[in-house]
């Protein structure tokens, strides 16, 4: 009996304990499939908008949800191809604490600005008028779904979705043509000087993704106890707030487990921490975090936020040292 267990343990150990995280494997299994899914769903979205651009169109809304899901599942991978020509910013400008998206859209619509006639021209427009959050406003915000300028708004929906499809395709193509090799072949004169620097990039992505979910996706609607801010919940008009937390945690869990490959116990603990947070989120059953203003629901959302913080601690204090790198600076530093 004992011997069997021991044998089984020995058989398993080499696989788990000796496999250092492989950047190549992460690129093939975690990164490329996500950007491929984004390109596919964004194409379907652009086609759906060509077929029917009405804000209430069921196929259009379904395609919007699918493509937005794909983006959120890839949105932590903010380096290399996503940062060329501000692609990721143009796909997803949020949080928008100064109301730039409604302001830019109102300006374009009031002037019926011809820049919206062509997706290529549209790449010049403020990032606040591009991407998924601008599209959400045009499909779900009462201010933009009435009868005024209906034809122009239809064009705008078609142009914004075409722009999303182009941005997504460009990101995937750069990954396939160039960046998959860049990040897996470090060298003294390369962008990444060593394997450690490449791993640091991935650790930074994990860390920054957790931070965004903690600070913005959960922190913004939570506000303070005296002043909860349910209107600040992400994509609340299309009821995607909790869905984004779920998708991002699932994607970050996947990445974290690849990075923790070297340390079985750590990988298991991280997996459990993510599972705890995901289970709490499901139990919450509050798609827009409207419950931040209700003391009992609020407490549950705060606990979920603490769960995410606990994962951040594990990543910073245990996963980083295990990899021999620090998460470094990220774009969310500063205030």
């Amino acid at each position: 009996m004992t011997r069997h267990i021991l044998a089984a343990a020995l058989a398993l150990t080499p696989l788990a304990a000796l496999s250092a995280p492989s950047t190549g494997q992460i690129v093939q299994e975690h990164i490329l499939p996500r950007f491929e899914a984004l390109t596919e769903t964004a194409d379907i979205l652009a086609q759906a908008a060509q077929d029917d651009c009405q804000p209430a169109s069921a196929p259009l809304r379904a395609a919007y949800h699918d493509a937005f899901d794909a983006w959120i599942s890839a949105s932590h991978l903010r380096f290399g191809p996503t940062e060329v020509d501000d692609r990721a910013f143009a796909l997803a400008f949020w949080p928008d604490s100064r109301g730039a998206t409604p302001r830019v859209l109102s300006g374009l619509i009031a002037a019926e600005d011809p820049v919206a006639m062509d997706p290529e021209d549209y790449a010049e427009v403020s990032i606040a008028g591009r991407g998924f959050y601008a599209l959400e406003a045009l499909l779900f915000d009462d201010r933009f779904t009435g009868d005024d300028h209906a034809e122009y708004r239809c064009t705008l929906v078609q142009t914004i979705t075409a722009d999303i499809a182009q941005l997504s395709a460009d990101i995937e193509q750069d990954w396939r043509d160039d960046y998959a090799e860049v990040i897996t072949t470090p060298g003294p004169d390369a962008p990444y000087r060593s394997d450690e620097e490449a791993l640091q990039e991935l650790l930074r992505a994990l860390s920054q993704g957790l931070q965004l979910t903690h600070d913005s996706r959960l922190g913004r609607p939570l506000g303070s106890f005296d002043q909860p801010r349910p209107m600040r919940a992400e994509a609340r008009r299309s009821e995607r707030s909790a869905r984004h937390v779920r998708l991002s945690l699932a994607a970050l869990r996947d990445l974290a487990l690849y990075l923790a490959a070297e340390d079985d116990a750590l990988a298991q603990r991280l997996g459990e921490q993510f599972d705890t947070a995901l289970a709490r989120l499901d139990a919450l059953a509050d798609p827009t975090f409207a419950g931040v203003a209700d003391p009992q629901t609020r407490l549950k959302i705060e606990v979920l936020q603490q769960d995410v913080n606990a994962i951040r601690d594990t990543v910073q204090q245990e996963l980083g040292p295990t990899l021999g790198v620090a998460a470094g600076f990220n774009a969310l530093d500063g205030d």
């Binding site: 501000d86 604490s97 910073q316 600076f329 500063g334």
Partner: protein, 420 residues
Amino acid sequence: MPIRPIALTAVALALATPAFAATPEEVLDTYADIAAANYADSLTTAQTLQTAVEALIADPSAETMNAARAAWLAARVPYQQTEVFRFGNAIVDDWEGKVNAWPLDEGLIDYVDASYGGPSDENALAALNVIANPTFILSGEEIDATTITPTLLEETLQEADGIEANVATGYHAIEFLLWGQDLNGHAPGAGDRPWTDYATGDDCTNGNCDRRADYLSAATDLLISDLDDMAQAWAEGGEARAELMADTDAGLSAILTGMGSLSYGETAGERMRLGVMLNDPEEEHSCFADNTHNDHYYNGVGIQNVYLGEYIRADGSLVSGPSLSDLVAETDAALDAEMQSKLKDAVMALSRIKHAAEAGFAYDQMLERGNDAGEALIMGGVNGLIDQTRSIERVIAALNLDGTAIEGSDSLDAPDAVFQ
């Protein structure tokens, strides 16, 4: 001729002395000395501003108004260099919002143009206009603002209703009171507040000139007392200096955290790249005075100062000593050369923005949709800052500060999102 032998001896000694290694303690000393001098300069230049503001209020005229504006611009030169001390030193980060909070919903303070709009979804107080309203309701409570005092600004109005855009104090509130809104959009030109906004009797324009003067005076007094606090915190025996020295590794890490966070998330990200991507002239850091090019430039200079251990004071004198650069050179001379050259490149890229702006190509214009030259200039600065951040990370790794770089920093432990 006793002088020559002595001089020769000194030279001989200097040549004979091997380059002593800089110790981490000496590096921290230099850093704290630069901070002390830099905040002291921020204080004295703000005192000059205060004198000019008092003259404007006592004798309102185009001349006294311009003199106050010139004093504000001069005061920004040392202050923007201190921003490198902010991230990494919790004591500075906790204090900073009082003096340099940005961006602001300026309608909280004074009259604004109709195009500004009213209260927003995000901020019910965006158009409160305290100067025109001696009493108002805040979070359900009636506030008596008949007398405008530093306490009112600091304790009631600053971040009122828990909204960060409610900025009632600091440089940018004063900037708004001296320049007013910049209504030129993407065209050149700064805010154009008439001096008669401070005139007495019938000459007063836009109403409530006495309350406006009270506000300006209170905000300037508060700036002085806040800067004085920070200058003392870095002086010998001060709290910030003591905290820095408490743990050598954590102290070195604080220097690098400040450099990296200011370079990347703050200046390159929130202040520069976001403005280009949004094509929004209100994304200018000093949007009223059109001084944004200098804000960015002196941020870059400040980062370079602390690495090289050299700071040129407001009176032209040099503060210098054993530096982080010396320390890195002992471990990895090539990395030190890389770091120095990246810092130099970034300052050069930022100075190009400054040169163009001073020659007449306003920062507002650079932000305009389709302005490729402007975008290239700003993105040159952004890329320089991002590029140097990568080298800063290498320095952190080379000095084995990886563990402490993450912890012990307010900006890394409890950051707000970049777009807030």
